[in-house]
């Protein structure tokens, strides 16, 4: 098996050899079919997204009239419409504001809590940890109506902070969980040495501990961003005009004259952009991050 792999990979994929040194290829047991598998899987992932991109660059007449794999009548009008109309692009701004707020709040409260869980044992710690996790399991549908009433009664309805706080419901437990995993990997001796050296707890936490788990914080931030960015049910329930997220704005394309497919596709493409940017920045931590620090 391993022997055939060497020649197969070398023969079929000469380009690969320049990237990976042959020694590595020998060590890994890798059927040459893996390139095919990956290629098929990535095509499966990209095809629907490509189709959306394709549609966003067509005029409505072309979308409905002809069927083609690439835009014949290339147009950027759909994007122009979104980026010049405040009622459209404010949706993106609103979404970004509450997502960033949520990420900041979640991390700020999760960091000390995760430290406590990873370092100390105290009364009810295990139960508390599971109770926190149960909030991650709470179906947003259960909370939609109570949230609406709660935030209306305290005058926060249709504000960014309301959505940010509501998303804390599932992001705080997740952030605690991820950070706890990363913090467990830091030896306790480091804390003890710092205390002997005369560091106070806040100073130690900021100057020494935080840099040590920087990748964990990045990963937690990524997850908070991700789950807050993709959530719609709560953010739509809690907003009407001023803080309306882009995902809810998209429903506007369904008008009396039918669906404006081109604009809908362009809006969809634009919601993918922030995610793609975030992924690009954290690409080296993704693998470890998805394991929530538990590898």
């Amino acid at each position: 098996m391993a022997n055939t792999t060497i020649s197969d990979v070398g023969g079929v994929e000469p380009r690969k050899m320049t990237i990976e040194r042959p020694r590595k290829v020998v060590r890994r047991i890798r059927p040459s079919g893996s390139m095919v598998v990956m290629a098929l899987y990535l095509i499966f992932l990209m095809l629907p997204i490509y189709w959306l991109l394709n549609m966003s660059l067509k005029t409505n007449a072309e979308i409905l009239g002809t069927f083609s794999f690439w835009p014949r009548d290339f147009t950027l009008a759909n994007y122009t419409k979104i980026l010049t109309d405040p009622s459209w692009y404010m949706g993106y701004v609103n979404s970004l504001i509450y997502v960033v707020l949520n990420t900041a709040i979640s991390l700020a409260v999760a960091l000390p809590a995760a430290y406590a869980f990873s370092r100390y044992s105290f009364m009810g710690d295990k139960h508390l940890f599971f109770w926190l996790l149960t909030n991650r399991m709470a179906p947003p549908a259960v909370f939609a109506l109570p949230f609406f009433q709660l935030y209306s009664s305290i005058g926060l309805f249709d504000t960014h902070i309301a959505v940010a706080l509501a998303h804390c419901l599932f992001n705080v437990p997740l952030a605690v969980w991820i950070l706890e995993g990363f913090m467990r990997g830091v030896p306790k001796e480091i804390d003890e040495t710092a205390y002997i050296d005369g560091y106070s707890f806040p100073r130690f936490f900021i100057k020494i501990f935080t840099p040590l788990i920087a990748s964990g914080i990045g990963v937690a931030a990524f997850f908070c961003f991700m789950f807050s960015w993709v959530e719609l049910l709560l953010s739509r329930t809690l907003t009407s005009v001023d803080a309306k997220p882009i995902a809810a704005t998209m429903t506007r394309t369904v008008g009396a004259a039918g669906v404006d497919w081109g604009v809908l596709a362009a809006a969809g493409m634009l919601t993918i952009v922030p995610g793609a940017l975030v992924i690009y920045f954290v690409r080296n931590y993704i693998a470890k991050g998805f394991a929530l620090g538990r590898v």
């Binding site: 499966f44 100390y120 179906p139 947003p140 939609a144 306790k188 993918i272 690009y280 080296n284 693998a287």
Partner: protein, 290 residues
């Protein structure tokens, strides 16, 4: 790790407690409140005891939704977990292509859920979607708004498209942490590829796989937006999962009492099943920690 006993650690947890109490306990108590009361409107409520729970337990509608939900979660776990592991085993381990695969695979995870729905709604349309058009062209009768089977297949393929990468990335992270010495030992023993997988890779990624199963179970059990956008719960009630049914009941018909009782039972079900996963997971963690 040996943990120090320190009751003052509670103070570090306090911010989380306050925040979660505000955003979880208060709303949850509102739900509990509704679940035991009835109303004639005008904000006049009176005690109804456990009637709503009794009603919901005998409601065919809820059991049907639960059945569909369990079937959906079961099917997507059965597809996504093996497929995710398979993809992870085939991913390039290092270099540019590895990063490339990671980035492309994470992409579906960061698309807002209703956009995921929109993408598949368009993709599956017979007139303007690639998938629908192609299937129609080769003579398969495919219409996800009319045909129950087509609707189910569309929703499941969409979920596989959306979330398999999460399983794959978790499994990949687990695989990467296996020291090379294990593979070398396997090679000396002339272990088959299957034996390497069964006796080295699978046990080593068991921990992260449990996380994957837990996350996938929780999220698939609460799925709302994607199927709602694609099928709207139809045709008929064929893809009305628990959350869709609940929102219909609470916000659509404003049946607060039954909806609240439904909510609580829904939440308890998901918690009970997750608790089992969580217990298994922490047991694995402990065993590895030794």
């Amino acid at each position: 790790m040996n943990k120090t006993v320190n009751q003052k650690a509670w103070f570090l947890i306090l911010p989380v407690l306050v925040l979660v109490a505000f955003s979880a306990v208060i709303p949850l108590m509102t739900v509990v409140n509704y679940s035991v009361q009835d109303t004639f409107g005008n904000n006049q409520f009176f005690w109804a005891g456990l009637d709503w729970f009794d009603d919901m337990l005998h409601s065919e509608r809820m059991w049907n939704a639960l059945g569909r939900q369990l079937m959906f979660s079961g099917i997507i776990l059965a597809i996504q977990i093996p497929l995710g592991i398979f993809v992870a085993l085939n991913m390039p381990k290092k270099g540019f292509w590895s990063s490339f695969c990671l980035v492309v695979m994470s992409l579906p995870l960061l698309i807002p859920w209703n956009v995921v729905g929109t993408i598949w709604q368009i993709f599956g349309r017979v007139d303007i979607g690639l998938l629908g058009y192609t299937l129609d062209a080769i003579g398969i009768d495919y219409n996800y708004t009319q045909n129950t089977l087509a609707a189910w297949i569309t929703v499941i393929v969409m979920d596989v498209w959306h979330w398999t990468s999460l399983v794959a990335l978790l499994a990949f992270a687990g695989l990467r942490s296996i020291p090379d010495a294990y593979y070398q030992a396997a090679k000396i023993d002339q272990a088959s590829r299957w034996a390497v997988f069964r006796f080295i890779e699978l046990p080593k990624i068991a921990g992260v796989l449990m996380i994957a199963i837990l996350l996938r179970f929780m999220d698939s059990f609460m799925i709302y937006t994607e199927p709602f956008v694609v099928t709207g719960g139809g045709p008929g009630n064929a893809t009305t999962f628990l959350s869709i049914d609940l929102v219909k009941m609470a916000l659509g018909q404003f049946d607060l009492g039954p909806a609240a009782a439904f909510s609580l039972m829904y939440f308890l079900t998901i918690m009970a099943i997750s608790w089992v996963f969580y217990t298994v997971m922490t047991t694995i963690d402990k065993r590895e920690g030794k």
